[in-house]
């Protein structure tokens, strides 16, 4: 039976419209106020939620819809009991008479999946089986959060997990689960937490994602994930001597944990680095020395010495001056060097000009004459 909200005003107008249309409720023409849709929703849909309890005026319009879900339920064999207990969410969660997911209609299957936060695509004949399996898996993990039903759920969930290739988690998770289980108890111990968190994180990836929900609930360490439950029950007696066991586990896991310890250290060293799955993150490139007025180091000057021996003397004082003023503002030093370089270049040009010029005549003709003369000589 589809479950409709008791307070539809939490939905947006568009959502209300779509819900109404989806359930073959005729909408008034044109754009109405949200109130109108809320009322329609309440009338038609909330009524269907608990038709036995609520007396709705538009009950007659619901008749078409009522028999269908009822008949669907009767096939499941638990219909009569559900009518009375339909009002609130709690009985729904507990009972879930649609344990046989194959009995669900397409729409009901869709809604059940939506309740688990999964948005399924269209449920057609081709996709139905897949969604049924998914729902079954979700349901078996769901109830375990609330109650301890180890054996049956383990067996059934084991089947489901094998479908998804999670056999590995059962096989080698026995040893590695101990620190995970005990770690939940020891969350307050920061030292061990640091070494253990990455271990548990890695294992969580191995085990199904859904179990993360379980793991993070602090009080529910007893109601652990289904695949771990078998090994965990064997580990329960070992929980009491926590600390020595923890240290033993640490020793055992040293080679495997070294990488994770390193990762933690890296995180400590670079707390501002974004943690990415590949560990690669781009950061701003350090500015190149000597470009755009940034301070130049001694090594850069050495490269420029090859130009001419004349300039060694000039470079030396500038290089000497540089260490003298390391503390001064960064901008003042490059400016100072800029001016010096400018002077150097201008002197160089002047010298070249002088060496080329013999008579001060027409400078342009002289340039032409000199340049022509220079080319063959060079």
């Amino acid at each position: 039976m589809p479950e409709f909200l008791a307070d539809p005003s939490v939905l947006t107008k568009e959502k209300l419209k779509s819900e109404l249309i989806a359930n073959n409720v005729s909408l008034p023409g044109g754009e109405q106020r949200k109130d109108v849709y809320v009322q329609l929703y309440l009338q038609h849909l909330t009524a269907r939620n608990a038709p036995a309890a609520l007396a709705q005026p538009d009950f007659s319009s619901d008749e078409e819809r009522e028999p269908t879900p009822l008949s669907a339920r009767s096939r499941g064999g638990a219909a009569p009991g559900r009518k009375a207990t339909k009002k609130t969410d709690k009985p729904r969660l507990e009972e879930k008479d649609d344990l046989d997911v194959t009995e669900l209609s397409n729409e009901d299957l869709q809604e059940q999946l939506v309740k688990y936060g999964v948005t399924p695509g269209p449920i057609l004949a081709t996709t139905r089986k897949i969604y049924e399996k998914k729902l079954q898996k979700l349901k078996e993990q769901g109830p375990e959060l609330g109650s301890l039903t180890p054996l049956p759920t383990v067996s059934s969930s084991a089947e489901n997990t094998r479908q998804n290739g999670n056999n590995d988690s059962d096989q080698y998770s026995d040893n590695e689960e101990d620190p995970k289980v005990e770690f939940r108890l020891e969350k307050r111990e920061p030292l061990k937490a640091k070494t253990k968190t990455p271990v548990t994180l890695k294992q969580r990836r191995v085990v199904e994602h859904n179990q993360q929900v379980v793991n993070r609930v602090p009080g529910n360490f007893k109601h652990a994930a289904p695949t771990l439950s078998i090994s965990e029950f064997s580990d329960l007696p070992r929980r009491t001597p926590k600390k020595p066991l923890m240290t033993a586990e640490v020793v055992e896991k040293t080679p495997a944990e070294e990488r994770r310890v390193e990762r933690d250290i890296l995180k400590e060293m670079f707390p501002y680095e974004v943690s990415t799955p590949t560990g690669i993150s781009a950061s701003c490139r350090r500015p190149i020395k000597g470009a755009a007025g940034r301070p130049i180091e001694l090594s850069d000057f050495r490269m420029e010495e090859s130009f001419s021996s004349k300039y060694i003397s000039k470079y030396v004082p500038s290089a000497d001056d540089k260490p003298e003023k390391p503390i001064t503002k960064k901008r003042s030093i490059p400016m100072w060097i800029k001016i010096l370089l400018f002077v150097v270049v201008s002197v160089f040009l002047f010298v070249v000009y002088q060496s080329m010029e013999t008579n001060q005549g027409n400078p342009f003709s002289k340039y032409l004459g000199v340049s022509e003369a220079d080319i063959p000589t060079d």
Partner: protein
Amino acid sequence: MATRTQKFKTFVSEPMGDKDVTTVDGINDELGLKLAAKGFDKAYILLGQFLLLKKDHAVFQRWLKGAYGASPSQAQRCASCLMDWCYAFL
């Protein structure tokens, strides 16, 4: 063929990406809402259904009319729109 509407041309002119199902020619708002309620909220899902039916115009139209109450013209426009898109990009 009949002159194509602007919606048709827009849809067929570029990869559909994550466009809504209402951008397909022939799918108006109402039909789009019905489709979305059943899970066909994006154009590519409708395309998926079209491909599953082996790009058969008639079968696709029949499906659209039967399951979602589309009119014959709507179904025909939708089918030809998707078909042309497939010619262009598939």
